[in-house]
Amino acid sequence: MTGFRVLLGKELLEQWRTLRLPVVAAVFLLVGLSSPLLARFTPELLDALGGSQLQIVLPTPTTADAVDQLIKNVSQFGILVAVLLAMGSVATEKERGTAGLILTKPAGRGAFLVAKVVAIGATLAVAVGLAAAAAWFYTLVLFEPLPVAGFAASAVLQWLAIMAFAAITFLASTLTRSALAAAGIGVVAFIVIGVLSAFPAIAPYLPVGLGAPARALALGQPVEDALRPVLATIALVGASVAIAWLSFRRQEL
């Protein structure tokens, strides 16, 4: 891991200087703010849109609706953003020749990769953290207070879920020389995991299996079976980075 600390500094500066971190943070902040708002005002919006001819009866919005809306939005936008962040992380550096600039210096290839993964993870963590903070505050204003620790733990699980897709796209970015191809592989992984989640025997071992424990934690309810999806997702992230390193250490640049 020679040079990891220096390379991580460079990656974080790049996330800031290329506006990836501010833009992703702003998108997630918007998601966090809008989720409780949508949950609270959707019935009234539909009522106003339907007019007097159309009668839509919806149950009274609850805190659980706000949390469901947040988890759904974070997972959808989060996966998209994760794929966008990771797609060019290695492929673009190989294509532009900047990977060669760094790796002819005393920097290990492992450090080069891990610094990138950590920087992507940090950007997503800041973004999910902002979304969670905004959603918690608006839920407090519009509904009722939720447990802070549980909400924070829920945010960690949501972050872990989208990190899985970032790691798969990162692996693809390492294996190919094209950011678009890497994005395609990330999207295919999203679809495949979505299909596999329909099988009850497999679902608890997939990143989507983190949704239920994240919901329970946010609402302060008892959590059932969080360990399997947490461990499986951590293993998926670890395996993706390990395979990326095994491939990258022998690649010509």
Binding site: T2, G3, V6, L7, K10, L13, E14, R17, T18, R96, G97, T98, G100, L101, I102, L103, T104, K105, P106, A107, G108, R109, R249, R250, E252, L253
Partner: protein
Amino acid sequence: MTGANEAGGEPAVRARGLTKRFGAVLALDSLDLDVPRGSIFGLLGPNGAGKTTTIRILTGLARASGGSASVAGVDVADDRPEVRRRMGYVDQDPRFYGWMKGRELLELSARLAGIEGPELRSRVAETLKRTGLADAGERRIGAYSGGMRQRLGIAQAVIHEPDLLILDEPVSSLDPEGRRDLLELIEGLRGTATVIVSTHVLADVERICDRVAILDRGRLVTEGPLADLLEAHARPIFELVPAPGAVAMDDLVARLRAASWATGVDVAAGTIRVTVSDAAAAAREILPIVVSCGVVLASFEQARPTLEDVFLELVGPASSDELDGRGFVRPRAAGPS
């Protein structure tokens, strides 16, 4: 820089049977090469000779298909960052992060080499000044011109004072001032660091290099001290400059070409250049031929052979069946591994 010349010691770079295949193409064919410590070493050859491939293997950017290469006694296949800490590399087309400032790139390079604190700041300032980028350090690299990027490439390669500096076509984007500065910088490293320069500018090689290797289609054609190479490979050359208004030039050229000792007669920029196989015979007979043709000369001298003469003699222009459709020499086909 601690890589001073150590006579009889481990060479700065050693290649043994170094081979590189790209599919059916043999880019390097069992290359054996020693680069002595402290030397300024010119790596020459036509396009496709294998110079850049050799450099890419030495820097760890490419893997050899066979044989071995070592830097300071450490096999480059081990991919050890400690080796690269002692090495600086300038690509023929340096690529950088456009969002980064010049100063930040130098800080990154120095930090990766383990330089921190006050020394880091002084090294960065000194290197920016040394490479003519003192006023551009706070500008984003994306706004740099080609020449400035080339200077920055040199700056990032020398900031940690490496024992081995590898430059692949370093003057390609430099203006005359930048080229002069780079040559002076390289000359300043003589005896303290080993420098490998791959270039097509043979005049630069003659000026700064003390040893030269010539590659052709992946093979080492010759290697040795520049002076020995000129002596061993160059044929005596005579230059005749006719006086203004001289007549019967065509007759003179034809008669020189017909001489048994003449191996080549070229006329360029008003100078007749005669390459000979027997210098003594030529020295005796050229002037009588000139006189018999009635040509008046402004000057006549035995020219010192240039590296270009040696290069062309050893590598020579490719025959038409050796050229591909784009005018490049076809690479050698790979034999059975």
